[in-house]
């Protein structure tokens, strides 16, 4: 069959070969003939065309020149002498070019020129139409004349106004000269009044401005440069008009009613200048101008002049281009005539060459076709052989036995697997009937298999086959008849050895037996659930629930043995396992025994197959006893053993729970923190047993006071917490706090003592004061401290500014400990000025702390904390070190460093070794001690006079300057001051602040200055904010000052710029005097 097909194909290919040859040679002949004819035609027509063209070109040249001349005439019509506004040569040119459509190679260049010429003509025409009216306006000075006219009118009005005023004054003067006595004085006053009136001054200004505007308008009218117009408009005209209109407005509002004149208006001037659409644009600080008026007219004129220049340039350029195109056209016409013949010959030669090439190509095509045909034949044969090999390979490598039968039932082929299984050699069997080898064993007797009746198809039939050696094996086989065109041609039998899978089934039964044996003897309950019923339970299981196995198996399901409340969970878990979400689940529930009693069980179930169906298998333990034990322990863990009240843990738990509720239902709640006042006295004086008894009875009273739903807990010691849930507003909390305090009003009688107990209560509210249990308790605690401060037996609500004073105190302390390490502290410097020279002579170093979250923290807040915790020693050393580092920095930058004053805390003076710290800092940065000044407060010295004078003396001995800070606020005696080795007194800023309003402060400041002078000390005034204050202290002999008037505290780099400015200004005079 394939051979026949191949033969037919080959014949077809050969015929194609012949046909192709014939067709190609025909086509070549036709092509050669056609191209020869074409060539001769073209040659003839092009020659005649060339001749006509050279005539036409001359015509075109004349037309372009004429058209250009007309354009130029229009553009140069400076005198507006009615130039021609029609361009007939251009029309002719257009017709000539559109009829010259056959000059294919040049038509593009030519029509391009015509478009350009038309374009410039039309633009010139448009320009001319716009230009004429504007130019006439400018030449005839219409617009400028109009502005001049209105301005003159304005000036005339101003002049007449001035004249009238002058006349009035002159008349007054005359009468005044002639008068005497009272009349003389009255007239003199009248003259003076007239002289100081505002409006005559505005009149003067308006007149000046009108003159200025006139000048500007003349300048505008002769302006030749478009780019200067923006300057004139925005920088000159606009301010002038603004000022003029302002002065006129002042005039109009101040003039005596009789003198008012309608001519004093700016709007006609503005309209004549900028058009009626004029309006100011304050956002962009410019003005919007209209289309009429002098300015727009002038602008349009200058713009059109610019357009004229541009058009002139373009026209010239075009003329040159036209010339170039026409010239090249002429050149082309002459050269084409001579080159026409050569070209024709060349084309003939080319046609012949093309033909030779085609013949060559054809030969190659034939060769390829031949090669293709022979290759095709060879591949057909090799494919056939390949197919056969593959078929054999498939059969031979199959694991199943395959036997092919003929229509007569003889074996056509047997694959190696089949021969191995049957133990027969392949070669001996081919052509033999099947029943010679196909013997099945049924119950020990051998019989021929019905498969021989191969008309039927057999699928997956099980049987036993006999091998040639007499042994039998389990087999599964199929038979498939091969039917072709309705006739059976044979059949294929496939079969495989299934002895191994039979063994697997046997071992499964064995393991099932083992499982039963194991579970029957197990001490935990074992069960299997299928379709909602227990299909198997072991004896221990039935024992746990008090049923017999038969009562359970196939009768009861999990719902019968679970507590109704827990069954949902059970059902959900069963669902999960069946759907394969989880493999096994371990959980505990309550179960119901047959007698109805409740038990606690723990179970672990997982999904499995049982009897070929999905099942849950699980184990189960009775944990009832254990659960009871646990609950007891839990109660002990969550309750205070003394009072039986919930302890801190449970309290937190309840509060969390209450918060969840409140959040969900949008409710308020309150936390009351209660602390007994003076409970310690009870313990100390009456003993702990009485104290304990007191706590128990207080717990009782508290429990009686609150509502059922609320919680009282003992927080430890004498502290209790009350949680009030679902309160309407804060008044409920205060009412209950009040009620608690009332409940304590009755004395408690214990061991014959009548004890009066009071409590301080702090209240925090959810959600205002916090949303977490911790915060609420902490804030209530803070509020409780506040209540204690107010006086005992009170209650207080939390406010956020309590935060730092109590609860966050600890946070702040730990933050402060980290501040230095984390580089959160830095110094700012406030300049100190020598009032005689105005120069910066010193700076006071001021410590700053920028907390990463809280921002800048005031020294008033953190310095006391640092002192209380002793951290001030470490911080103080750091400040000294930084200040010295800064001095050395300034020196290295080439500045003369000012004296740097550093504040000392009393802790540093009394507790630390300040002398050593200072020495170390000086040595580390190689600083001369003369640059450093230490400031100690007056109060610090008075704290321990003996020690402080020792320390000060030691510092003074080392050449360090010393100043007393906040002087005047303490109680230093003159006698004592005299003994101290100090250099400087700083007048506290509280005395400076109210100068010059507070006389007593002035007196104190004066006294301090005098005291300083008496003791030969330098005096510096702090907090100088105004020039008066500076003058006051300076006048009274204080030569140094510091304060906002000079500069607030600034970064060291800013000080550097000041020092730099100072050294620049060195030779100049002083500032202060």
């Amino acid at each position: 069959m394939t051979e026949g097909y191949s033969r037919r194909q080959l014949t077809l290919l050969l015929w194609a070969l012949v046909l192709l040859g014939l067709m190609t040679s025909g086509a070549i002949a036709t092509y050669v003939g056609w191209s020869l004819a074409e060539l001769s035609d073209e040659n003839a027509s092009s020659q005649s065309l060339q001749q006509r063209m050279s005539l036409d070109i001359e015509h075109l040249r004349r037309l372009t020149i004429e058209s250009h001349a007309l354009t130029m005439e229009l553009l140069l019509a400076g005198d507006l002498s009615n130039p021609a506004t029609e361009n007939t040569p251009l029309l002719e040119l257009k017709t000539a070019v559109s009829s010259a459509g056959q000059y294919s190679p040049l038509i593009n260049a030519l029509s391009g020129r015509v478009v350009a010429i038309t374009d410039i003509w039309e633009r010139t025409q448009q320009w001319y139409l716009r230009y004429t009216p504007v130019a006439i306006d400018i030449r005839q000075e219409y617009s400028v004349g109009n502005v001049r006219k209105v301005l003159q009118r304005l000036q005339a009005s101003l002049d007449s106004l001035e004249g009238r005023h002058n006349l009035y004054i002159a008349q007054l003067m005359r009468r005044w000269k002639a008068a005497d006595g009272d009349v003389f004085i009255t007239l003199a006053q009248q003259v003076r009044e007239e002289e100081t009136k505002l409006w005559p001054r505005a009149l003067q200004a308006a007149k000046t401005e009108a003159t200025e505007l006139t000048r500007l308008i003349e300048r505008l009218s002769i302006q030749k440069n478009l780019s200067d117009l923006a300057d004139i408009k925005n920088n000159l005209l606009k301010p002038s008009i603004d000022r003029l209109s302002r002065q006129l407005a002042v005039l109009n509002s101040h003039l005596p009613v009789t003198a008012q004149s309608r001519a004093l208006e700016i709007s006609p001037v503005v309209a004549a200048l900028f058009g009626t659409e004029y309006r100011p644009d304050p956002v962009h600080q410019t003005i919007v101008v209209g289309n009429s008026g002098l300015f727009p007219q002038q602008r349009t004129y200058l713009e059109l002049e610019q357009v004229r220049q541009k058009l002139l340039r373009e026209a010239e350029q075009q003329e040159a281009d036209n010339h170039l195109v026409l010239q090249s056209m002429t050149l082309l016409a002459t050269t084409q005539l001579t080159s026409g013949r050569q070209e024709t010959e060349q084309r003939l030669a080319q046609a012949l060459l093309r033909m030779a090439l085609s013949v060559g190509a054809l030969a190659v095509l034939f060769l390829f076709l031949g090669i293709f045909i022979s290759r095709h034949i060879r591949s057909q044969f090799s494919q056939l052989a390949e197919l056969q090999r593959e078929n054999e390979l498939i059969l031979n490598s199959a694991g199943e036995g395959v036997i092919g039968l003929t229509a007569a039932g003889n074996m056509r082929f047997i694959n190696p697997s089949a021969s191995t299984m049957l133990g027969i050699a392949v070669d001996s069997m081919i052509g033999q009937p099947l029943h010679r080898i196909w013997k099945t064993e049924v119950d020990g007797s051998v019989e021929a298999d019905p498969v021989i009746a191969f008309g039927a198809r057999v699928i997956d039939k099980h049987s036993r086959l006999l091998r040639a050696d007499g042994r039998s094996f389990a087999v599964e086989y199929s038979s498939m008849p091969m039917i072709r065109k309705g006739v059976q041609e044979g059949a294929v039998i496939t079969f495989r050895d299934i002895s191994e899978s039979e063994q697997v089934k046997a071992s499964l039964q064995e393991s099932e037996q083992k499982f039963r044996d194991l579970s029957e003897k197990s001490l935990v309950g074992v069960y299997i659930i299928q379709n909602g019923l227990f299909t198997y339970v072991n004896p221990h299981f039935s024992e746990i629930f008090g049923y017999s196995r038969d009562e359970i198996e196939l009768h009861l399901g999990p719902q019968d043995l679970s507590h109704p409340d827990d069954f949902k969970l059970v059902a959900r878990n069963i669902e999960k396992r069946i759907s394969g979400v989880t493999d096994s689940i371990d959980y505990s529930i309550r179960g119901i025994r047959k007698d109805g009693s409740e038990i606690n069980i723990e179970l672990l179930g997982s999904s499995t197959q049982y009897g070929g169906e999905a099942a849950i298998i699980g184990t189960l333990v009775d944990v009832t006893d254990r659960t009871k034990a646990e609950a007891k322990v839990q109660h002990q863990a969550y309750h205070d053993p003394l009072t039986g009240l919930p302890n801190r843990l449970l309290c937190n738990d309840r509060l969390e729970h209450a918060l969840n509720n409140a959040q969900r239902l949008n409710l308020q709640l309150a936390v009351l923190f209660l602390d007994l006042d003076r409970f310690k006295h009870v313990n100390d004086s009456l003993g702990h047993s009485v104290g304990d008894a007191l706590l128990v009875s207080i717990a009782g009273r508290l429990n009686n006071t609150i509502r059922q739903a609320d919680t009282v807990a003992r927080q430890g010691g004498d502290e209790f917490i009350v949680i009030l849930e679902a309160i309407g507003d804060s008044s409920v909390a205060s009412a209950i706090a009040k009620k608690i305090q009332d409940a304590f009003a009755q004395p408690i009688i214990l061991s014959g003592h009548e004890l009066y107990v009071t409590a301080s209560i702090g209240i925090s509210l959810y959600p205002e004061d916090g949303t977490s249990a911790d915060t609420l308790i902490k804030n209530a605690d803070a509020a409780m401290y506040q209540a204690k401060h107010k006086g005992r037996s009170t209650f207080a609500f939390y406010t956020s500014d309590l935060t730092l004073t109590s609860t966050e105190w600890l946070d702040l302390e730990s933050a402060l400990r980290r501040a230095l390490v984390r580089d959160e502290m830095y110094l700012e410097y406030q300049p100190q000025i020598d009032l005689n020279s105005g120069k910066l002579v010193g700076v006071e170093a001021l410590l700053r702390w920028r907390h990463p979250e809280r921002g800048l923290i005031s020294p008033i807040k953190f310095i006391p904390l640092a002192e209380e915790t002793g951290l001030i020693l470490e911080i103080g050393d750091w400040v000294l070190d930084q200040a010295c580092l800064q001095i050395s920095c300034w020196q290295q930058q080439g500045y003369h460093s000012p004296l740097v004053a550093v504040n000392l805390s009393s802790i540093q003076v009394f507790r630390g070794d300040i002398v050593a710290s200072v020495e170390q800092a000086l040595v580390r940065h190689s600083i001369d001690p003369g640059y450093l000044e230490l400031e100690i407060t007056e109060n610090c010295i008075m704290e321990n006079t003996e020690k402080s004078s020792q320390v000060l003396q030691a510092l003074r001995d080392r050449g360090i300057s010393l100043a007393i800070d906040d002087f005047g606020t303490g109680y230093s005696s003159l006698a004592y001051l005299k003994q101290l080795p100090i250099n400087k007194l700083k007048i506290d800023q509280s005395f400076i602040a109210d100068i010059p309003h507070d006389l007593s402060d002035e007196a104190i400041a004066k006294a301090i200055i005098m005291l300083g002078q008496l003791l030969n000390l330098e005096i510096i005034a702090e907090g100088v904010e105004t020039v008066e204050q500076q003058q006051f202290v300076h006048k009274n002999g204080c030569n140094l000052a510091q304060g906002f008037l000079f500069s607030r505290p600034v970064a060291p780099e800013v000080i550097a710029t000041m020092l730099s400015a100072q050294s620049d200004a060195e030779p100049q005079g002083s500032l202060g005097s």
């Binding site: 505002l198 001054r201 200004a205 478009l226 780019s227 200067d228 117009l229 923006a230 300057d231 925005n234 920088n235 000159l236 606009k238 301010p239 603004d242 000022r243 302002r246 407005a249 002042v250 509002s253 304050p282 956002v283 962009h284 600080q285 410019t286 300049p831 000025i833 105005g838 120069k839 910066l840 309003h997 904010e1025 105004t1026 020039v1027 008066e1028 906002f1044 008037l1045 000079f1046 500069s1047 607030r1048 600034v1050 970064a1051 780099e1053 800013v1054 550097a1056 710029t1057 000041m1058 730099s1060 400015a1061 100072q1062 200004a1065 100049q1068 005079g1069 500032l1071 202060g1072």
Partner: protein, 397 residues
């Protein structure tokens, strides 16, 4: 006009590769005349930023070059200069012009030539249209923002009535810009009649301030605060004469005055002169970009002193190189604008975000008040403005 001379500076930087074609920028600024300190400062600042970029190889390996022409703060000279600069097709943008009247003169040419007018040293509203003009991009806050902040502080914190504030301004587009901004803010504070607020003026490039002061003295009530929109020399003369005439009003100047120049021109009367700035104090070393500025300035020319003006030039230059660095193709006049517009919200190290996009052509809106004290220009807080007005308050009690 003899002081108007043409200065032609072409600066190459040896660090960048010489064989690469440089990126050329132009500047027409005041190198002589009454605003020369500003022009020179702007030039030095921009050059310092360019120098920084060139030291690390420039943009796409090409060095930045600046061609500087002097206009002596005269608008007519500016239009000549800008025309000359813009006609060079290689020149990418006009950078750092000084002054409003000069910008007014440059603007028509900018529009016609379609070349970027970048970060001029002026806060004029004419350069801040909404939506913005494509060819104008500003770095700094506007004069209207500066005077509005002054007015807000004077009225809201200082407690002045609008009528107690007066304006002393230069008689041109610059003076107008400051005045209109202040008046707008005063209207928001309830001012109805503009004539109630004194507005006196002086002619640009002159010291003729006497008439203006006389006008103020003639008024029935002396102002408590005077907002000055002028150059440092006339401003200094005005302040001196005002003090001599017994006017102790608080004087508030906009940034253009040049605070250091004003401080130098006034030899005493410290204490109640404020100058608003549009860049931070050049001593604010805590800001990374100011720190870089101080280092770069010393590297560029060790003789130069830090100043507000050159810091502004520097920041404008840094913003420019920041934008240019976004380009992957060779910069040209158009794609450079696109690159700057694509910056969106970005940081230069000033401690706050700048913003440029097609709808916003002004990167910064911040104002920093400073005060002239005997120690030079020191930082100031608006909350303290009451202290400067306090004395007068007590007189009225």
């Amino acid at each position: 006009m003899q002081y108007v001379f043409l200065m032609f500076m072409v600066l190459f930087f040896s660090a960048a590769r010489a064989d690469e074609q440089p990126l050329l920028f132009g500047m027409s600024t005041a190198l002589s005349g009454p605003a020369d300190e500003l022009g020179i400062g702007m030039r030095d600042g921009v050059m310092t930023a360019f120098d920084r970029s060139n030291r690390s190889g420039g943009i796409q390996g090409r060095p930045l070059k600046l061609k500087v022409l002097d206009d002596a703060y005269e608008p007519r000279q500016t239009s000549h200069n800008v025309q000359a600069l813009a006609s060079d097709p290689e020149l990418l943008a006009i950078v750092g012009n000084v002054g409003t009247p000069t910008a007014i003169a440059a603007l028509p040419i900018i529009r016609e030539q379609k070349i970027l007018f970048y970060s001029p040293f002026t806060g004029a509203g004419l350069l801040r249209r909404t939506p913005p003009e494509r060819y104008v991009i500003n770095y700094r806050a506007s004069y209207a923002e500066e005077t509005a902040e002054m007015v807000n502080a004077l009225v809201s914190i200082g407690g002045l009535r609008p009528q107690q504030i007066a304006f002393f301004t230069q008689r041109d587009g610059y003076g107008d810009a400051g005045f209109y901004g202040g008046i707008k803010a005063l209207r928001q504070h309830g001012l109805k009649n503009e004539l109630e607020v004194q507005h006196v003026r002086y002619e640009r490039n002159t010291l003729a301030v006497e008439n203006a002061l006389a006008d103020l003295l003639y008024a029935d009530e002396l102002p408590r605060a005077i907002i000055i929109v002028g150059a440092y020399a006339p401003a200094a003369k005005f302040i001196r004469l005002a003090r001599e005439s017994g006017v102790d009003a608080l004087m508030l100047n906009v940034s253009f005055v040049g605070s250091q120049a004003l401080a130098n021109a006034l030899d005493s009367t410290a204490g109640n002169i404020l100058v608003t700035q549009v860049v931070p104090h050049p001593g604010s070393k805590k800001l990374p970009v100011v720190n870089e500025y101080l280092t770069d300035l010393a590297l560029y020319d060790a003789k130069l002193r830090p100043s507000f003006v050159s810091l502004e030039g520097y920041l404008a230059g840094r913003m420019l190189t920041h934008g240019l660095a976004r380009l992957e193709v060779a910069p040209d006049r158009e794609n450079m604008i696109d690159a700057l517009e694509s910056l969106g919200r970005f940081k230069l190290g000033l401690g706050y975000e700048l913003q440029l996009n097609p709808e916003k052509h002004q990167a910064s809106h911040r104002i920093w008040p400073t005060r002239l004290s005997g120690l030079g220009v020191v930082p100031f807080e608006w909350s303290d403005i009451g202290l400067l007005l306090e004395k007068d308050e007590s007189l009225h009690d």
